[in-house]
């Protein structure tokens, strides 16, 4: 059995070596695929904080992914049309600056997570899943009817946004930027997990009544986890939109929320690199099988089924021989 720490480093190394190879072999599409995997991994790393540590099965994380996407789409749209966004007396200039877009995505999705969390954390189990799903659908249908930003057709952004000091039009540079953000998010997860907050959150998942009897409020712990989680997934949405130079209501779809959960389960729930491994496998299968058959998702389903039935702890669980981070 392999120690989890080694697996983590090997996976990260893979994410450095493969795109560099692609760069020298002149395979830009591979770099784009790797970027896609990194961004999906970031979305799932965000969800993993709520799901893996806090036990919150959110089927509405596409809300944050979509909000991040539209934060990018709307700001860049106003910049490329040279028409500021007018909200009554408030006039907001569009921007092509990634840092400003990222902050907007983080703040918007954190606020949305706060409101959604406050309303849905009163419930648990299947009711929590249903309420978060309902919020997702609300945003989905709203975005479809929002004709100012393309409605069902979505919004195209002609040129990728800027990051100071980088040429983001070069796939490898944009990839590196996304990888750096992912590493930052992984750092946040790992720090959080071992902090007093992480300890309490992790206990709130397993034994909420115990957490209460030591004088802590499990709901507030889960709410903060949900907000941090939503913010990170929101940031990934902004990057995803920038990768495709396109946003559309599908970013809000419940299928996306479901896929994020599936990625985490395949990689390993609550494990630091679980979402990263899951996302890499997802994108690889999508690319390799997607060309052969339209039904490649069936094969993903089979893998998911096998893992749920026979390998608690996902791929990391199989490799380490440990079903959970501790056991």
């Amino acid at each position: 059995m392999i120690a989890e720490r080694w697996i983590n480093w090997i996976v990260l190394l893979g994410f450095v070596v493969l795109p560099l190879w692609a760069l020298f072999a002149d395979e830009p599409f591979t770099i784009t695929l790797a970027t896609r995997a990194v961004i999906l991994a970031l979305a799932a790393v965000g969800l993993n904080i709520a799901l893996g540590i806090g036990g919150l099965v959110s089927l509405g994380h596409a809300v944050f992914f979509g909000l991040g996407g539209y934060a990018m789409g709307i700001l860049a749209h106003h910049a490329q049309t040279y028409a500021p966004l007018e909200l009554g007396p408030l006039v907001i200039e569009g921007t092509k600056s990634m840092p400003i877009i990222w902050v907007t995505a983080l703040v918007t999705s954190a606020l949305a997570a706060l409101v959604i969390g406050l309303l849905s954390l009163r419930t648990t189990g299947v009711y929590f899943i249903m309420i978060t799903l309902a919020f997702g659908q609300m945003f989905f249908f709203f975005s479809i009817s929002w004709s100012a930003y393309g409605g069902e057709d979505g919004l195209s952004i002609y040129v990728r946004n800027d990051f100071p000091g980088l040429n983001t039009l070069q796939p490898i540079q944009f990839f590196g930027l996304c990888l750096a953000v992912l590493c930052l998010a992984l750092g946040i997860h790992s720090r959080l997990r071992t902090s007093p907050f992480g300890l309490a959150l992790n206990a709130a998942r397993q034994a909420p009544e115990r957490v209460e009897t030591v004088g802590l409020n499990p709901m507030r712990l889960k709410l903060l986890a949900f907000v941090i989680s939503g913010a990170l997934t929101g940031l990934s949405g902004a990057l995803f939109a920038d990768l495709n130079r396109f946003v559309s209501p599908t970013m809000f779809s419940w299928q996306l929320s479901g896929e994020l959960i599936v990625l985490i389960i395949i990689g390993g729930v609550g494990r630091l690199m679980g979402p990263v491994i899951g996302a890499a496998l997802f994108v690889a299968l999508e690319h390799l099988l997607g060309g052969l058959t339209e039904f490649w998702l069936v094969w993903l389903g089979v893998i998911l089924l096998l893992i749920v039935l026979f390998a608690r702890g996902g791929i990391i669980g199989i490799l380490t021989g440990k079903a959970g981070p501790n056991v």
Binding site: L199, A200, A207, V211
Partner: protein, 249 residues
């Protein structure tokens, strides 16, 4: 006698037609162990849940250190000094023994909003947790996964977590269950010394332990307190023997 540390007045709780506690008024005074005994289903755990905030009583009040806490949440009552152990262990089973004790230390220090810095490297939290484990005799199990502990060891861990809170009053629901004869003796000696730190409301089926420890005993039958008194008084009460002790003989 000064004001009791913990006092319930006329607590009532019904589950449908079943009156689980009926007009229960008991006091817990500084320095004492007050045992609650009664047959299975008498309402002992329900009483504890009302004291600690798990169930809202249908009627009656709970006072802690003179303050009415009846409308407070479980967490707020814990912050004000209730240290509880559960009859059915409520522990983070996937976590280590030390992590469970650390949770108590984090609660006591009110540090749950620290998002940075490893909890195990926080000296003061770690010392408090390890000290509590050492006091109940399971310091050597600190790195074990809680799910791998025996029933008795989980009981000890429950008590250790309560210790990390340095509460004003301990509320213990069957801390001896599953400990075995030897473990029971050790725990009895431990609780005997603990009462000088904070009084203990002790629900327990192990009569040897109860008679050895209790300053006062209340007998609960069908949700009602049928007698409160010293060990001698309870042992010699005909009513109690008929209603409860008689069953065991």
């Amino acid at each position: 006698m000064s004001e009791p540390v913990l006092a319930t007045r006329n607590l009532k709780k019904a589950f449908g037609a079943l009156q689980a506690t009926d007009d229960v008024s008991i006091d817990l005074r500084a320095g004492e162990i007050h045992a609650i005994i009664g047959p299975n289903g008498a309402g002992k755990s329900t009483l504890i849940a009302q004291i600690c905030g798990g169930y809202r009583p249908d009627a009656g009040t709970v006072h802690l250190a003179g303050v009415d806490v009846t409308s407070l949440s479980t967490a707020e009552r814990a912050q004000r000094g209730l240290g509880r152990t559960f009859q059915i262990s409520a522990l983070a089973m996937e976590d280590t023994v030390l992590e469970n004790a650390l949770l108590g230390a984090v609660g006591h220090a009110r540090k749950p909003w620290r998002l940075w810095g490893a909890v195990e490297r926080d000296r003061s939290l770690r010392d408090r947790a390890m000290e509590a484990l050492a006091r109940v005799g399971i310091a050597d199990l600190a790195d074990q996964i809680t799910a791998n502990l025996s029933h008795g060891q989980r009981r000890q861990l429950e008590v250790a977590v309560a210790l990390t809170l340095a509460p004003k009053a301990f509320i213990m629901d069957e801390p001896m269950a599953g400990l075995g004869a030897e473990g029971s003796k050790v725990m009895t000696t431990f609780l005997d010394g603990l009462r000088s730190e904070a009084p203990i409301l002790l629900v327990e089926h192990d009569m040897d332990a109860v008679f050895a420890l209790a300053d006062r005993i209340s007998v609960l039958v069908y949700g009602r307190v049928i007698a409160t008194g010293s060990v001698e008084e309870i042992r010699n009460s005909r009513e109690v023997r008929e209603a409860y002790l008689g069953e065991e003989a």
